[in-house]
């Protein structure tokens, strides 16, 4: 599904990603952990096509297509979805109107007809229930004045509506209360199937109890310095990152 080869990227002349290699096959869930500022969100942004990041080296292949050559909207239409760590507020644009536009843009790209109002509402209701998304928030301006948790839920609601093949969740768990964490995770688990892959960026092992990953990667200083299974997350919770950082620095100084 997704193949990242030796990916280097910088922002404003500052090197952030320094050679990422990652293979995410269909149907798998990969967790990415790592200390603050290590480049997790940057990786997500580069995959989604944010243009202030300049890719200086490397390749990214998505379902056989060169992802880096596509515009951000085409990546989304191809099935890449990024649940933002910090969803932006867009005053004046109603959530529902935004969703309708997004859903229909993706459909148009796939050569599907626009959803009729009735079908769209049906889909909305269904997905709303799936992630327990408050109806009141539907008619409000996109993320405007939403609480931190509401914004995160909205990301997952959009994920459910757009039904992408690759979803990257950037710290979707932070800001969620305990109930919401469970609900959102259940939602993700229900969306999960053999055709879909997830990249789950998180600081907390707890999320990975709900959304059980196939692999856990540790990103540090723009590189993946360790890969393991879900047990690695437990280990990190216990020991922190210092032991890995030290090992990394030793490697570097050799």
């Amino acid at each position: 599904m997704l193949t990242i080869k030796n990916l280097h990227a910088e922002v404003e002349g500052k090197k952030i990603l320094k050679g990422i290699n990652l293979e995410i096959p269909k149907g798998e869930i990969h967790a990415i952990m790592g200390p603050n500022g290590s480049g997790k969100s940057s990786l997500a942004s580069v995959l989604a096509g944010r243009d202030n990041y300049e890719v200086t080296e490397g390749e990214v292949w998505f379902n056989g297509k060169n992802l880096l050559e596509m515009s951000p909207e085409d990546r989304a239409r191809e099935g890449v979805f990024l649940a933002f760590q910090y969803p932006v507020e867009i005053p004046g644009v109603s959530n529902i109107n935004f969703l309708k536009t997004a859903v229909n843009e993706v459909r148009a790209y796939k050569g599907l007809p626009q959803l009729e109002a009735k079908e769209f509402l049906k889909l909305t209701k269904e997905k709303q229930q799936l992630v327990d998304f408050n109806t009141n928030l539907m008619n409000r301006s996109l993320n405007e004045g939403f609480s931190g948790g509401e914004k995160k839920r909205n990301e997952i609601f959009q994920l459910a509506m757009l039904n992408p093949s690759l979803a990257i969740l950037d710290e979707t768990d932070s800001g969620l209360d305990i109930d919401a964490l469970r609900i959102v995770s259940n939602g993700v688990n229900k969306l999960r199937d053999a055709e879909k892959s997830f990249v789950v960026i998180t600081h907390y092992q707890r999320l990975l109890e709900y959304i059980v990953p196939d692999f856990v990667h540790v990103l540090y200083n723009g590189r993946i310095i360790k890969t393991g299974t879900k047990e690695l997350a437990l280990e990190l919770e216990e020991k922190g990152y210092d032991w890995l950082k030290e090992a990394e620095h030793q490697k570097e100084s050799v």
């Binding site: 989604a48 096509g49 944010r50 243009d51 202030n52 515009s71 951000p72 909207e73 990546r75 989304a76 239409r77 979805f81 990024l82 933002f84 969803p87 932006v88 867009i90 005053p91 004046g92 644009v93 109603s94 109107n97 935004f98 536009t101 997004a102 843009e105 993706v106 790209y109 301006s141 959009q158 757009l162």
Partner: protein, 481 residues
């Protein structure tokens, strides 16, 4: 810049070089502004003596008035002597006109789906087309006539309903109001006249499509709308003009009179040629629009969507004379490239219990410069007057300008005046967020802009709102990134 004194001197001192003869075959008058051309226009239009006198008084006023200097832009040099003040449409020219139009503009028309015929076909829309200063088409007339509604060209009204015209002409915008209004009074070519009789609710939107066609013809439309007691009318004005390299002056005057319990809604969608990317060419849209709520409980509502013109300079205003009368101003003004807009409204609360509401949405992109200028005045008699003003600016990019000049003059302690203002920017992160959901940048901007202007577009009749929405998207195409 030629100042007004110079122009006046010019006009006053210059002996008309070639004399002036009335040539019946002539389609375009030779350039120049003087008493003779005014007499010529008046004669061409077969006007009664009182109207000629009125025009000449307007010309006297014009000569005394100066060009304003308070605006937030530099007034370009206007060589009013080089303009021709009379043009009649030639039959042939009409036929060929589409070929003469810049293809880019035609493409815009196509995208908008506007054609005059299409407009006519729209159910319930009567179209009166002002084509190069002379009204050539009037439709739906008979149906309106049954109700006693008068909707015709100004020229026709002068012939058919001189008493009505005489009674109201210049009562809201006197000839001496400002230099452009005075100029208009002297040389106005044609325009529209509307009269809604007592108790009649006009069942259809009255729509006028103004077009500027002949080169170098200043446009001096004059519109007069009178709504008698307990009547209602919604009037639509749409403007499109072919591309020209030379600037064209458009100095129209619109007067509205609302008598007791009458309501007038006046909507404008203006997309005249804005000039090219470097600010070359484009229309100067210097228009005086004013309504008076003369009767108690009457209401006048202006809605404008201004996307075109090199310079848009106008303040559709309401005089709230009748007790408990209401005035509204809803505006969207878009500037991009080197466009300039200095627009807003003036609301004069005179009667008691008068209410007003101002919603202004400015959008600035490119090197555009957008100013909101508004005056809310409350007179000593206006007990419990209320005003609410919301004035928002949306910026796209870093090189545009946006300014707000709200003036409040209150001479009554019971008045309540509220003013809110916001400035926001379409951020790259907002665009990226929408991109990341499969929405391309053009659509993303349109989505944000449409959300931003919703409150104003909601005031427009359905078809017009859809058209305005499309127009906004087209106007802002390519302004981000």
């Amino acid at each position: 810049m030629m100042n007004s004194n110079e122009i006046i001197d010019d006009i006053a001192n210059k002996e008309y070089e070639f004399g002036f003869t009335t040539d019946i075959e002539m389609d375009i008058a030779p350039p120049g502004l003087n008493e003779d051309i005014i007499r010529f226009i008046s004669a061409k239009k077969n006007e009664p003596e009182w109207l000629l006198e009125w025009r000449l008084k307007g010309f006297q006023a014009f000569k005394k008035l100066k060009f304003p200097t308070w605006q937030h832009f530099e007034l370009p040099e206007l060589d009013l002597q080089s303009l021709s003040y009379w043009a009649a449409p030639k039959q042939k020219k009409q036929l060929n006109s589409l070929d003469e139009v810049d293809p880019e503009l035609l493409a815009t028309f196509d995208k908008l789906g506007i054609s005059i015929n299409e407009q006519k076909a729209l159910t319930g829309v009567a179209v009166d087309v002002v084509f190069d200063s002379v009204s050539v088409v009037t439709t739906f007339k008979t149906k309106l006539k049954e109700l006693g509604v008068i909707f015709c060209s100004f020229g026709e009204a002068v012939q058919e309903y001189p008493d009505l015209v005489k009674k109201y002409l210049g009562t809201v915008v006197p000839a001496s109001d400002n230099v452009f209004a005075a100029l208009n009074s002297a040389v106005f070519s044609d325009g529209s006249f509307v009269y809604i009789p007592k108790g009649v609710r006009c069942p259809m939107e009255l729509s006028t499509y103004f077009r500027i066609n002949a080169q170098n013809t200043g446009q001096f439309e004059r519109t007069l709308i009178v709504a008698d007691d307990e009547s209602y009318v919604s009037y639509l004005e749409g403007c499109t003009a072919p591309m020209r390299d030379e600037n064209q002056l458009h100095a129209a005057v619109v007067e509205i009179v609302a008598l007791e319990k009458a309501e007038v809604k006046y909507s404008t969608v203006q997309n005249w040629y804005p000039g090219d990317k470097d600010g070359k060419g484009g229309i100067f849209n210097f228009v005086t629009k004013r309504g008076i709520c003369k009767g108690a409980n009457s209401k006048i509502s202006w809605t404008q969507v201004e996307t075109g013109s090199a310079i848009t300079w106008k303040y559709p205003s309401v005089i709230l004379q009748g007790d408990y009368s209401e005035g509204e101003f809803y505006s969207v003004a878009v500037v991009r490239n080197k466009q300039i807009a200095d627009t807003g409204t003036k609301i004069h609360h005179i009667g008691k219990g008068t209410k007003s509401r101002i919603i202004s949405k400015g959008i600035s992109a490119g090197h555009g410069d957008n100013s909101y200028r508004g005056l809310v005045s409350v007179g000593p008699r206006a007990e419990n007057a209320r005003n609410f003003t919301q004035c928002d600016s949306l910026l796209i990019g870093n090189q545009c300008g946006s300014h707000t000049f709200p003036y409040i003059e209150s001479r009554n302690k019971s008045a309540m005046i509220e003013h809110e203002a916001t400035t926001s920017k379409i951020g790259e992160d907002q665009i990226f967020y929408l991109n990341a959901r499969g929405i391309d940048t053009e659509k993303a901007v349109a989505l944000i802009v449409n959300g931003y202007v919703k409150e104003v577009l909601n005031q427009l009749p359905m078809e017009f709102a859809v058209e305005a929405q499309k127009l906004l998207s087209i106007t802002l195409e390519g302004s981000v990134g």
